[in-house]
Symmetry: C2
Subunit: 249 residues, 2 copies
DNA sequence: CGGATGTTTGACTTTGATCAATGGAAGTGG
DNA sequence: CCACTTCCATTGATCAAAGTCAAACATCCG
């Protein structure tokens, strides 16, 4: 697996090629406290946000007051990209934790100055990864029973947050109502499912943190396939080695 | 809205900039009959497919035999992009109707030959649009009751297939079980919802085709916002003026 | 301490799933 | 042309999973 990174947030970080592009633009970082509304559905679409650290949620509110969280952006993700082609934004953004963002004006994003070959490659890769995660979310929400959705959420976050320290404890940057808004349940169901999973020894809960105790049992329960970040850059076909089997288990 | 196009499939078509990139690659079109499996989950990820005409579905099968249709690709869409960064594909592809595809090897997709400025622009725009539709799907599936999901599906397809001929009849390229696999219901529920919508005069059914009879009532029912394709190309590549500000028209 | 925020639990209700039978349309082969 | 099959859609009866409602409990914090 390799790909270790220093930061405590696991190995998610802004790809070097994007950092490089960014440095050419002279964009100032933006620090936001947890719970800040960064963008509201319907605003003019002018900026995308590259997450440097923290957690940001993309969500949308439906006509009958229900909310759907569409994506949890971690370090290295770009929020707001879906609105690149529209006049107004179609989703809202909110920081779930204290976060640092780089607001990139769309005009700049499209400038040749930013779009060097390596940066384009990194962006494509990022978008592919986000699309893949979105699709997995859709499959979980569309076709799994409540219990399995929660297991899926835990495994997905565990996967995205994983580091090699062996410390398996991590935090879900959502409260139970928000978890419900993410996986299509109510806070009550979420609470019940968590309690059951805890009773049955699949997870252990310490405050808002979680330890996965029976990882492979949970993976088997829902047939979970690990999200594998590519250990080698997309545009450097390079030596075959590495992820032979990264998958299953 | 403008943007009329000749073909009978409404105004969806392959963006010119992508056609241009394609012509530099010498890719032969691939004709597939309706119901053909084009790619299976787990295959090596080597190719993406640009849809020239027809309908292609991306789907995934879950461990307990359930299927989730993730995306309906129409002319101009690219299927398989989510696997750009992985070794094996995470979704399967199937033609829902007779279709013509351009299989683009990923190595070629990444070649500078294909990736001219205008082609990059068109790809970004396409991905943004697909991400946006995926997010809307997720919101519908995650947070709407059965009846509203069906209404959403009809409106979404109506939107994507719309042309200006005033002929409001269109075909859903899915049978009722597949519709269920798309919006997270069973075929039985889908049948009941369609029957009710028809009784109530929202739609009219002629064989496998549909006419929307009370469009704005349906839009109000679920607070539907039209997917708006941008009336002008994002990078305005053709006439020199290139990337100045193309956006927020 | 009081207030805000979030979680847990139980009683009850509802939506959509499941099961099963029926019917229709299209295609095939004799 | 008629049996026969296959694939799909429809309908009704029943059931179960998750939603709703409401109250209690926990934590945190000034």
């Amino acid at each position: 697996m390799s790909y270790r990174v220093d930061r405590n947030s696991g190995y998610a970080q802004v790809p070097a090629a994007i950092t490089a592009g960014l440095s050419r633009l002279n964009v100032a970082p933006l620090c936001v406290a947890a719970g800040t509304d960064i963008q509201h559905e319907g605003d003019a679409a002018q900026t995308v946000y590259l997450v440097e650290s923290g957690w940001v949620a993309s969500y949308t509110d439906l006509s009958q007051g229900q909310r759907q969280i569409l994506y949890l952006h971690q370090a290295g993700d770009i929020a707001g990209f879906a609105d690149l082609g529209s006049k107004t934004t179609t989703c809202s953004l909110r920081s779930q934790r204290d976060s640092v963002l780089f607001p990139i004006p769309i005009a700049m994003l499209k400038s040749p100055e930013f779009l060097s070959g390596a940066t384009i490659a990194a962006l494509f890769e990022k978008y592919a990864q986000m699309q893949s995660i979105l699709m997995r979310t859709l499959a979980a929400v569309g076709r799994m029973e409540a219990r399995h959705r929660i297991v899926w959420l835990i495994l997905m976050l565990h996967d995205r947050v994983a580091d090699d320290t062996g410390d398996e404890m991590f935090e879900i940057p959502l409260n139970q109502s928000e978890i419900g808004d993410f996986v299509g349940l109510t806070n009550v169901s979420v609470s019940k499912m968590f309690s059951r999973l805890s009773e049955e020894g699949y997870i252990e809960r310490k405050g808002s943190k979680i330890v996965v105790r029976r990882l492979s049992d949970m993976q088997n329960m829902i047939g979970y396939q690990s999200i594998h970040y590519r250990p080698e850059p997309m545009f450097a076909p390079a030596q075959g080695r590495s992820h032979k089997r990264a998958l299953n288990n």
